[in-house]
Symmetry: none
Subunit: 325 residues, 3 copies
């Protein structure tokens, strides 16, 4: 698909959220196709988790995004999908790896949306592939449980905040879930949610540094609960950490099922986005340091620093790998 | 244009904002066409004001909206456009008047966006038409000035509000202005702004009464300042008044030109929207009374009551007129 | 790509226009990729013509459209692209051929939009492939010239028309060409134009027979002139012919470059669309006969009948071919 002005910011860089949405669409096609490949109850697949993903190089308006997807592991009730995105400049023919993402889907019965179905097993070329897949499966299961527990936080408004404080750049948007945001079963596509999350994170980052910013990476995203058509969702973001040249933003998605269903607002998704600021020549710029005021803000800053140092090594390895391809 | 699922709420009623956007598109086509009809500097037209408009009957998915526009008055620097919207059920052939709106545009030079150009005068069939137009022109000019003065209010967040208070339903969204929101000159289309305003007002109304709601009318909207591509706009709404069967919501649009231009956030637009709650059969329902707490809330409630009583008579007259057509 | 509610009519059948848009996007990716494959001036490709295409089976919401494209012939200045569309039901795994379309593109220089570039020749597996391609090339060239000549007609409004006359169902819409409708060079994507044409043709068909209608085929579409960003386009449609179970609608696209360029309105595209009316079970229904009143209407009806009888044989052959796959 050709990238259009609507997919990009005013500097011409395609929004990370547009790419996340394409990645999820690929997963949402390949996983029910697999699950429905054997006779049995028809199903749709619900996105349960997206593993950490890096944006290795920015994509621009006019380039073509090539998305390919493959099923790499199946547990009894879930499917792991590997999605690769390449950007292709059709004027020069140049191709670059833009993203590699891993998504987990759970098949739900078309007739009864609360019933999780069984996944037909895939064949592995080598025994090690199955073992590695199983390891990834166990790790993400554990992480999903942990995230669910530390998920009660809310973003409180701040009156007249100082520049570069957390309160200065924090932002939120509301969105009424319409029919075209939803799957056949009437639940919001994971890709739609991720695009809104990237939009809010991008506004937080731009408010903080007031320059052209792009998504550098997204931490693992867990989809704790489905969001139904007709809900109002509130997507809120606050900055948690800055390094010399990157900003980490925590994003929450809360759903408010206010029509029809008398139910309380609930936390549906949360994740960390990392942004960098780019000069007109596309070079990373220094970003202003985040000013932390409260104890909670200082604690979150230290936690963010931990994540930053941990993933810095990993990211450098991946960049080298991508450069060699 | 056929109304699609995305144009409507989950009950199938087309959003007032979608209709406002179509109305403005018609005005944005006819007014520069007129202003460019004579040799001279090429221009685009900027929306300056929309007169109060009533939604006479709801439009539904699958119906065709017919929009017609006509220039009814020209002053030296502005154009008055009358737009009519009819809904047509193409299966039964039934047609209904949905809206009548009056818009004011100002022509700006394509080369220098701060230069207001002169408008070629139109010919009037009768002298009275010109006189009546001039009267409407003077009235709106006065009203625009007045609105500009009482425009400094902000919506402050409330922690843990009680149901049916102002704080309980107040809502805001942020939107990053993208290329397809804008005119050729890089300014946000008035119709895009009005659609977002209706979206926020609708969420406030739905949060208050938790039923299916539709736009009944929009008070005069003044566009005080242009909003540029790349701005973040914050659209906030709060309930100001409830009658037995209607809710009045005040909506503000603030623009934040944070990239490129180091300028303070400014109030770009403000307006009052009136909503009604509909049963499944399309009958108006009673709405919960708004609980006012502060002195300001009580004052705004009384002001809203004034507007309500004033327009009640007018609206009834219009309904009768529409019923006779 | 998964088909969503917005891609379809209220009966769930995907609009022919959505499919035409996807077909054109595939062509708009593959043809510049080919033309830029050799060192030389970089180019984009402008859609010059779409050959007659049949909609072999309707596509529904929730199905996945698989679009594949291949270059089948190159002349000195044009590229022929063959695009196939398959619909896939990911719940049942069933696949059906939906469309086969042939498109012609002309490469234009990125630096000078009025300069047509040369196309690198492709290799043919067999000599006959080249000869057949050359024959198709000559035929379409001739047809393009002919269409250009008989292109001056306009659709005049009719007051109080009788049901089933031409004036009763004729329709038109205007659209302001925005940035996201356009290519890198600022010209409207052919697919965007075709989608609007299908929308108008669908409204004409629904007004005539007042039932659920779907696109059955589109006659060859010639793109006589490019349409620039900022133009207003008027898309008009009128019924020209009815058989027992089909309706033929002629659609015109006129462009009005009222900003920037002081140029007269011009005819940019014209084509014939054929629609059928479907029952709730998806069976074709009888359609009311078109009542022709003027000499021109009677002549156009006879011409339509000629096209109908001519293509009936071809279509039956294609249906049989598709049924065998």
């Amino acid at each position: 698909r050709i990238m259009r002005p609507d997919d990009a910011n005013i500097a011409g860089n395609v929004h990370g959220g547009t790419i996340l949405k394409m990645i999820e669409e690929a997963g949402a096609i390949i996983s029910p196709r697999h699950c429905n490949s054997q006779a049995g109850e028809p199903c749709v697949a619900a996105l349960a988790r997206v593993e950490r993903t890096d944006f290795l190089s920015p994509m621009c308006i006019g380039e073509v995004a090539n998305v390919s997807a493959e099923i790499t592991y199946t547990s009894r009730h879930s499917v792991e999908v590997q999605v690769n995105v390449m950007s292709e400049n059709i004027l020069t023919g140049a191709k670059k790896v833009t993203n590699k993402a891993t998504l987990w889907y759970v098949p739900l019965s078309l007739k009864n949306v609360n019933k999780v179905l069984e996944v037909p097993p895939i064949q592995y070329a080598r025994k090690e592939q199955e073992d590695e897949g199983k390891k990834r499966y166990e790790e993400q299961k554990l992480d999903r449980l942990e995230t669910k527990q530390r998920n009660g936080d809310v973003i409180l408004p701040v009156i007249n905040p100082e520049p570069h404080t957390v309160g200065y750049s924090q932002s939120s948007l509301i969105h009424l879930v319409g029919p075209s945001d939803c799957t056949l079963l009437g639940f919001v596509h994971g890709g739609v949610t991720m695009k809104l999350m990237d939009e809010v994170a991008g506004i937080v980052a731009a408010r903080h540094c007031k320059t052209n910013i792009v998504t550098a990476s997204v931490d693992a995203i867990n989809f704790h609960e489905k969001i139904k058509k007709g809900c109002v969702i509130t997507v809120s973001g606050r900055m948690t950490f800055t390094s010399n040249k990157s900003m980490e933003i925590e994003v929450f998605v809360d759903a408010d099922p206010f029509v029809d269903e008398p139910r309380e607002r609930y936390r549906a998704v949360s994740a960390f986005f990392t942004y960098v600021s780019l000069s007109k020549e596309g070079k990373p710029l220094a970003v202003p340091q985040l000013l932390t005021e409260t104890e909670d803000e200082k604690r979150r800053f230290e936690e963010g620093k931990g994540r930053y140092l941990q993933t810095k090594a990993k990211r450098q390895a991946q960049m080298q790998q991508a450069a060699q391809q």
